[in-house]
Amino acid sequence: MRETLTVARFAGRLYWRDRVVLTVGLALPLGLGIGLPVMMHRLGATADTRTHLGVLAMVFTIIAFQQAAITLTARRDQLVAKRMRATGLGDGSILAGEIANIALQAVVQVMIISVALWVMGVLPPPAQPVLFAAWVVVGAIVLAALGAAFTVVVPRAELAPVLAMPFFMLAGLGSGGFGPLIELLPGWVAQVLGWWPGIAVADALGETYTGGTDYLPAILRVGAGVILAALVIHRAFRWEPRR
């Protein structure tokens, strides 16, 4: 645990030094997450929690899933992961620390977005703020872990953003982040896309806004995501580039 925190702190320092991360990984989600609902609000459309939650599903997908895939493929390809393994650190601590850092950055951003929308009077606050925060943490962790697992199919670090992009699009489509497009498609599409943990978590967050109690579907889908990520990482995670 102490090692995981050490790695997470180190990864956090690197994160805040990285200008690409700060512009793409921070400005974009914040702009999208706050800007879109505010704009809709200003235009007089009902900026309902639905839009907000749809955008959050996308934001989770970029800043947790995609960012984890980018960071960990870069660590692998630059042979930094290998160097970290050459120390006394355990593999689990290194991975958990990197995932924890990315999840933390995602939590902070999602919180900023949600609080900003509330403070600006665009949205009411969640009915169950503590549960809301808990689901944000869960979502950030499961998506960052899936991003780590996703590195298995990324041949080179430069390809990580591109390969992760479809998940962002599908998250936007399935969650309604792009508007109610999904309603024009057959019902099974929404059902399939709903297995994406970003969308599952957005559904759970919706319950916390309304004060609902129907968390079981989200728990099942997020649990499946966690198991999948753990299995893939355990079986196939690569610490070094192919040669």
């Binding site: 790695v7 030094r17 630059q78 160097r83 120390t87 650190l89």
Partner: protein, 294 residues
């Protein structure tokens, strides 16, 4: 006391045997060199010893532990200078060493490791601005952070200037004097000669010769070379010589002894051996020697 034991170690990639039935031992305080050309299997051997890879067959013990199963315990008392590993280019040398200290139990102060590696005056420089040789020194500094009992050095002086190489050799020697077991891979014969008392020569995944550095060098072909002696029949010399252009070459297991014999003969004849060179075997010559009967 033995720090590293390797018995019949083998590792293949696909059908290709990168390491074949390699065996050797390294004692505490000993510097052992794995000498071989590129592709000989040195890095693979070292990574198997450091637990980065799993052997297909054979046994490895580092400080009595299995480097794969007990990897963390082994790593805690081991320092590794990998042949290739990355840095964060935007961190300074000191930031890098400080960050890495957090990953190593009971680490030395960063300045101490940097000083050992001769990098203290570059402490404030960003890693991206270091030369190849300086990066190698930073590699060494990081490997020394944990005060290792066993040190793995994979081609430690590649890219260093002569001064850097000598300084690194100095550090390696003093670490061995303090009791560190050091396994070094190199393709420089002079590096092995400077540092190691024992050496194993690897070729195509196998150890082709192993033993004391001095004996191995002696067993390889040394040469005594001098300018042709006008008016003298080469076959009248006390040792066989071949004519190579304007020079005569005498091959001998012990070139020093051969040179003495030839000089004694020349003195008795009243001739001078001009341009006299005494050469021990080069790595390539050692390979020609051992490679043919391997």
């Amino acid at each position: 006391m033995t720090a590293i034991t390797v018995r019949d170690l083998s590792r293949s990639y696909g059908g290709f045997e990168a390491v074949r039935r390699v065996s050797f031992e390294v004692a505490r305080g000993e510097i052992f060199a794995l000498l071989g050309r590129n592709g000989a299997g040195k890095t693979t051997t070292l990574e198997l010893l450091a637990g980065f890879q799993r052997p297909d067959a054979g046994q490895v013990r580092v400080l009595g532990l299995d480097p794969v199963k007990d990897r963390r315990a082994v790593r805690r008392s081991t320092g590794i200078m990998l042949q290739e590993a990355g840095f964060f280019p935007d961190l300074t040398v000191n930031q890098t060493a400080e960050s890495w200290r957090a990953f190593v139990p009971s680490a030395r102060p960063a300045f101490e490791a940097l000083e050992l590696a001769g990098l203290l005056q570059k402490a404030a420089v960003k890693v991206r601005q270091l030369s190849g040789g300086e990066k190698r020194r930073l590699d060494l500094a990081l490997a020394l952070l944990g005060r290792p009992k066993v040190l793995f050095l994979d081609e430690p002086t590649t890219g260093m200037d002569p001064e850097g190489r000598r300084a690194t050799w100095e550090v390696v020697r003093s670490l061995a004097d303090e009791g560190t077991a050091i396994l070094l891979t190199t393709h420089y014969l002079d590096e092995a000669q400077q540092l190691a008392r024992s050496v194993a020569i690897m070729d195509k995944g196998e150890i082709v010769t192993t033993g004391g550095m001095a004996e191995i060098l002696a067993a390889g072909t040394g040469r005594v070379i001098f300018e042709a002696l006008p008016g003298i029949d080469p076959s009248s010399l006390p040792l066989p010589v071949r004519v190579e252009g304007g020079r005569w070459v005498c091959s001998a297991d012990d070139p020093d002894l051969a040179a003495q014999t030839l000089l004694g003969w020349a003195a008795a004849q009243g001739v001078r051996l001009r341009g006299l060179e005494v050469r021990t075997a080069s790595l390539e010559e050692l390979f020609l020697e051992v490679g043919t009967d391997a």
